[in-house]
Structure formats: structure tokens, C-alpha cells
């Protein structure tokens, strides 16, 4: 019939659109791809003009991430990058976990037991995220000095937890606000304590939201640079800071080395997003569709 040729069924896109979307996606992904390719190239291949897409891959850059000689001709030494990767994972993981625990409980409180002036509190919490970190770095630096937190794990973990909290509270509150109050009333009538109500009824419903919040928090914390630069010491240094310190040296910028660090740096984020992607999509679209 005539109308069938003009209209297609919902859920089926033509090849034309698929290719179009593919091209856009490729443009977005290209810088990442280029970095990954660079990580496998020799220095000569990296600097080749025109750029090389086909080359003999090498793992040399990855080896030198963890151990290399700083001065030509000397024996390779440990760079400490295994430690920095551990620091990044440990610090980001712990602080996001802490922020999720505290933030979820706080959000439940804000959502279910509003204080007089509830919105004001929420606004104040949000204002802490309105300033770029660089503005508050000096007072925080001084506070850390006085408290003896500079360069320690608790210090940077606390800071990142505080840094993640506003976002977590706002996100989680919106998820709690979406839940049906009837379900909670039903649970109360069915003899639930408030604790059981939270853990058995409310909590399982917001896991998708929790996953989405965790991913956003992890990405933010994982990539954070300024605080880490000023407030971590040699022992607690994270990868972004260590990466910045790798730039330079007697033979100029080692692009292959940097690309290798970045490639390794991407892996944990990709794994987390991949594991959580099912929840992630549900989490970020939560409440946008009327159930």
C-alpha cells in the first residue's frame, strides 16, 4: 500500500541512517582510537608524516610505563606506575563508595523526612559544586596542612568524597522522589520497620540509579587533576598527576609512552561502564518515561 512505502515501522532504521550514525560515532571515537594506535607505535611511526594507519605494533611503550631508564644508556628502573594505578583505583573507588553510602542515606532523608527549609539545604549542597576547584584549592590546601592530611590517603579520599557528595545526593534524591509512596505505605501496613522498608523495598528499586551515579562519580574522580596535583604526595600520587610529570625529559615528549599510559588508564573506566551499562541506561532515563 502507498503509505507503507513512506512510513517505516518504529524500531527499524534504514541502512542510510545506520551508516550516518556510524560516521558520527567514528568521528567521536577517533581521538581515542588514535591514542590507542599511538600506544602501539614506535617513536618513528608516531612522528611519521603522513600519519601511519598500518604499522608493526610494539609493546615497548607499555613496558616503559612501568620500567624505563631516565638517562640514555642507564639501566631501566621501576617508575612506580603500578603504585599510581593502584592509588587511582583505590582512591577513586573508596571515595565514590563512601559518597554513595553517605549520599544515598542523605538523599533518602531529604526525600522522605524533609526538614523545614529542605530546598535551601539542597541548594547549599549544590553550591559547593558551582565553583571550579581552583578557587577553593588554597583554603583547602591550608586546611589540609593544618590537619596534617596533605599527601595522605584519608585526606584525598575525604576530599573526593566531599567532592562527589552533592552530585550523589541530588541524583539519588531524584530517584527516591520517583518511587511510589503507595509501595512504602503498603510495606508499613505489612509490618515493616523503617529499616526493613529502606533495605527491602526502596533500595532494590534504586540500584539502577546507584549504578548511574557511581559511573558518573567514578569518571569525575578518576580524571580529577588539580586536587590530586596539590594534595597528594609521592606515596599517594594518582595517574593523571604522574602522567603530567612524565611529559618532558631529555629526549622531548615521549608520545608513545603517554599514549600507553592513557590506554591503560582507559581500561578500568571501560570495564566499569561495560559492567554497569545495562543499569546505566535505565538510570539516566529514570523517570523520563511515564510508567
Amino acid at each position: 500500500m502507498a503509505w507503507q512505502s513512506k512510513q517505516r515501522e518504529i524500531g527499524t532504521a534504514g541502512w542510510g541512517w545506520a551508516i550516518f550514525a556510524g560516521i558520527i560515532a567514528f568521528i567521536y571515537f577517533f581521538p581515542v582510537l588514535w591514542i590507542i594506535l599511538t600506544a602501539f607505535k614506535t617513536n618513528a611511526d608516531i612522528l611519521a608524516v603522513p600519519p601511519k594507519f598500518f604499522f608493526t605494533p610494539t609493546l615497548e611503550n607499555f613496558v616503559s610505563v612501568f620500567s624505563r631508564s631516565y638517562i640514555k644508556g642507564q639501566a631501566a628502573v621501576d617508575t612506580g606506575f603500578d603504585r599510581f594505578f593502584f592509588n587511582s583505583i583505590f582512591i577513586a573507588g573508596t571515595s565514590v563508595l563512601l559518597a554513595l553510602v553517605i549520599g544515598t542515606l542523605a538523599a533518602y532523608g531529604f526525600s522522605r523526612y524533609p526538614l523545614p527549609g529542605n530546598d535551601t539545604y539542597l541548594f547549599i549542597i549544590l553550591t559547593t559544586r558551582m565553583l571550579p576547584p581552583i578557587i577553593v584549592i588554597i583554603p583547602i590546601f591550608i586546611m589540609f596542612r593544618i590537619a596534617g592530611l596533605s599527601g595522605t590517603y584519608p585526606g584525598i579520599i575525604l576530599l573526593y568524597t566531599a567532592f562527589n557528595l552533592p552530585f550523589t545526593i541530588w541524583m539519588m534524591k531524584s530517584f527516591f522522589d520517583e518511587l511510589s509512596p503507595d509501595v512504602e505505605d503498603a510495606a508499613r501496613l505489612d509490618g515493616s520497620s523503617e529499616k526493613r522498608l529502606f533495605f527491602k523495598v526502596c533500595f532494590p528499586q534504586i540500584i539502577a540509579g546507584l549504578a548511574a551515579t557511581a559511573v558518573f562519580g567514578l569518571i569525575l574522580t578518576w580524571n580529577e587533576f588539580i586536587f590530586a596535583l596539590l594534595l597528594t604526595g609521592v606515596e599517594t600520587r594518582t595517574v593523571p598527576v604522574a602522567m603530567a610529570q612524565t611529559i618532558g625529559g631529555d629526549i622531548g615528549v615521549r608520545w608513545g609512552l603517554l599514549a600507553a599510559i592513557e590506554t591503560l588508564f582507559l581500561i578500568p573506566v571501560i570495564i566499569v561502564v561495560f559492567v554497569l551499562q545495562k543499569h546505566l541506561l535505565r538510570g539516566v532515563t529514570f523517570g523520563t518515561i511515564k510508567r
Binding site: D185, A186, A187, L189, G191, S192
Partner: protein, 361 residues
């Protein structure tokens, strides 16, 4: 004994009085329907019984014990919600078992009870499904099952059937009635659907604007509505309500004037306190009429405006210029638009209301 008693129950939200001085007694085994239009306070009343709303004034007694200060979980009432309120992350069996948690039963006992309720409500095949994957009727049965699985003081149902389609609704009405009849508990059902109330209730409490307008058996509220609101609210098609005046009593009948017409009704219709020239509202149910072949003392004359076939019957909209009159006739009565008809209200099924809209005793 499983009873509910409400005394002077009042709920105010700021200036709005949602529930006003409600007194009700519901006996064990009795099903009371709170019936009324949206916003009349029926759900608020129910929620006060459950403890989900605090009463501003008045008392709630469950099993003769004052429960005003008890939390919902301490009151031991079972409630089924309009939107079912199933626990989304628990499957059907876990949903059914949830209320048993407080009773500290063994797992075997819990399983046994769940299986028994599932069998009664025909849920055995879906015990492992999550609520999101259930059909509307199944969700409704799970919500009923969750209410009946334990031994509560009373049952509360908030618009239990409003989300079901007509066929399922009819089926569930019967099923709920059957389940409840075996339990001997005081039950309150909130509904805005009068058919639901008329079929399921032992007694109906008709509410409007926070007040209870009438409490009675389904037959009582239908046959002897205590005021104009109840008269107009109960019964479909709606009762014809015509303004008129009392024109005196003559030869064993009451004469009433409505518009240009005068009609005689049997003096057996209650008319105490009526004086000549007094204003009344005449109530005639569309089904309590018959067509007369010619005009008489006891008929009203009107022409056909609109014909609505309803299957077994036909609804006629008549008009005598000022007033509309709805009349239900058998499907085999053939009339045409514009035809003049003589309508005779059935003796003793005519209602009279005074100026204050109250039924004349």
C-alpha cells in the same frame, strides 16, 4: 472480634476539611463500601483507619481498641491499594510472603501459606514472576492475596477494581466477595463506582465533601435515598429530579405541580409536613415509569428528544419544553423522535425532597 469503629473522625488539611465528623461502625464479617465522587474524603477516611494519615480529631477503634496513636505496622490492618503497590523488586511469591515477616514463621509455614493463597487466587503459575511482568488482573490478585495472607484486624480496599477492564472487573467482584465471605473480618472498600458498591457491600456509606450523607444497605440507599445528593448519585441512568410545588391532597392522592403540568401521585408516598404551595423536588427513577396510552391525572406529557438504545432496554430523553425527563423502556417499544409520550411514574416509587434537599419522611 474484628470490628472498626470511627467516632467524630475529622481530617483537616490547612483550611480544607477533607473528612468531617464521620461516625461509622463496621461489624465483623461486614463489608462496608465508602462511595462518593472524587475528592469526597473516602480515601482519606480509609487512610486514617490504616494509620497512614493522622486524624485531626476523633477516634479510630479497631477490635474495640483505640488505635489513634499506633503506627500502621502496629495496627495490624491489611490494605489493597488502587495501584496495587506491589514490591517491584520482589517476585509474586515474595510479595505474598512479605506481610508474614513480622509473624516469625518457619520457611515451610510461609511457603505453605503462599501456596494456599496462590491456589485460591489462581496465581500458582506466576509465583516466580516480577510484578512488572504481570497482567493487570494478576497484579490485582497479588495485591488481594497480600492482604488476605495474614490474619489482620480488618481489610481495607482502595478502589480495588478501578484499573481493570469491564469483564475482569465483574469477575473480580465475585471473587473478592467470595474470598471475604469466608474470613469474618470487618472490611471497608472505597469506590466511586456505584455498581461495585451495590454488588459487593453489605452496607454503603455515601460520602460528599467530607460528610457521610447516608449509611444503609444497598437496597436502602437505592430505594429510600435520604437526600437529593444520594438520590442523584445512586442509580443509572440518574434519577429524574424535577422542581415543583405541592398543590394539595385530593381524593387519596397528592397533587404536585411541575412547570405547566400537574401530576397526581398516591398519597402513600411520604409527605409529612408538606403545606400547599410548598416547594418540593420530585424524584422519579427512569426505570420506575411506564408509558400510558393517553394523558391522565397521574401522567406527565413530554416529547421524545433523543433515543439511546442500551441493548435490552432503550433510554429515552424526553422534554416538555423546560424539563428533561429520562425514561427507560423495553427494547421492543418503538418510538420516534418528536413523538409525544405520556409517562406514568410507578406508584410508590416516587420520591419527594423538601427545600433543604432532605427526603420527606
Amino acid at each position: 472480634m474484628s470490628t472498626i469503629k470511627l467516632q467524630n473522625l475529622t481530617k483537616r488539611f490547612g483550611d480544607l476539611v477533607a473528612v468531617n465528623n464521620v461516625d461509622l461502625n463496621i461489624d465483623a464479617g461486614e463489608v462496608l463500601c465508602l462511595l462518593g465522587p472524587s475528592g469526597c474524603g473516602k480515601t482519606t477516611t480509609l487512610r486514617m483507619v490504616a494509620g497512614l494519615e493522622m486524624a485531626t480529631e476523633g477516634d479510630v477503634f479497631l477490635a474495640d481498641k483505640r488505635v489513634n496513636d499506633l503506627t500502621p505496622s502496629q495496627r495490624n490492618v491489611a490494605m489493597a491499594f488502587q495501584f496495587y503497590a506491589l514490591y517491584p523488586s520482589l517476585n509474586v511469591a515474595e510479595n505474598l510472603a512479605y506481610p508474614l515477616h513480622a509473624d516469625r514463621l518457619s520457611q515451610a509455614d510461609i511457603d505453605g501459606k503462599v501456596r494456599e493463597v496462590a491456589r485460591v487466587l489462581d496465581l500458582t503459575d506466576v509465583l516466580n514472576r516480577l510484578p512488572g511482568r504481570l497482567a493487570e488482573g494478576e497484579k490485582q490478585r497479588v495485591s488481594v492475596g497480600r492482604a488476605i495472607i495474614r490474619d489482620p484486624n480488618c481489610f481495607l480496599f482502595d478502589e480495588p477494581l478501578s484499573r481493570l477492564d469491564v469483564q475482569l472487573r465483574e469477575q473480580m467482584r465475585g471473587q473478592i466477595k467470595e474470598v471475604l465471605s469466608g474470613l469474618n473480618k470487618a472490611t471497608v472498600i472505597v469506590t466511586h463506582d456505584q455498581l461495585e458498591a451495590l454488588t459487593m457491600a453489605d452496607r454503603i456509606a455515601v460520602m460528599r465533601d467530607g460528610y457521610i450523607e447516608q449509611v444503609g444497605t444497598p437496597h436502602e440507599v437505592f430505594a429510600t435515598p435520604s437526600n437529593l445528593f444520594v438520590a442523584g448519585f445512586i442509580g443509572t441512568p440518574q434519577m429524574n429530579l424535577m422542581a415543583g410545588t405541592f398543590a394539595g391532597q385530593r381524593s387519596g392522592s397528592l397533587r404536585l405541580k411541575t412547570g405547566e403540568q400537574e401530576i397526581a401521585i398516591p398519597s402513600s408516598v411520604p409527605h409529612a409536613g408538606l403545606t400547599e404551595g410548598g416547594r418540593v423536588t420530585i424524584g422519579i427513577r427512569p426505570r420506575s415509569t411506564e408509558l400510558a396510552s393517553e394523558a391522565g391525572d397521574d401522567t406527565l406529557t413530554a416529547t421524545v428528544d433523543l433515543i439511546e438504545p442500551m441493548g435490552a432496554e432503550t433510554l429515552l430523553h424526553l422534554s416538555d419544553g423546560d424539563r428533561d425527563l429520562r425514561v427507560v423502556v423495553d427494547q421492543d417499544v418503538m418510538v420516534r423522535v418528536g413523538e409525544q409520550l405520556h409517562v406514568r411514574p410507578r406508584a410508590s416509587q416516587t420520591h419527594l425532597f423538601d427545600q433543604n434537599d432532605a427526603r420527606i419522611a
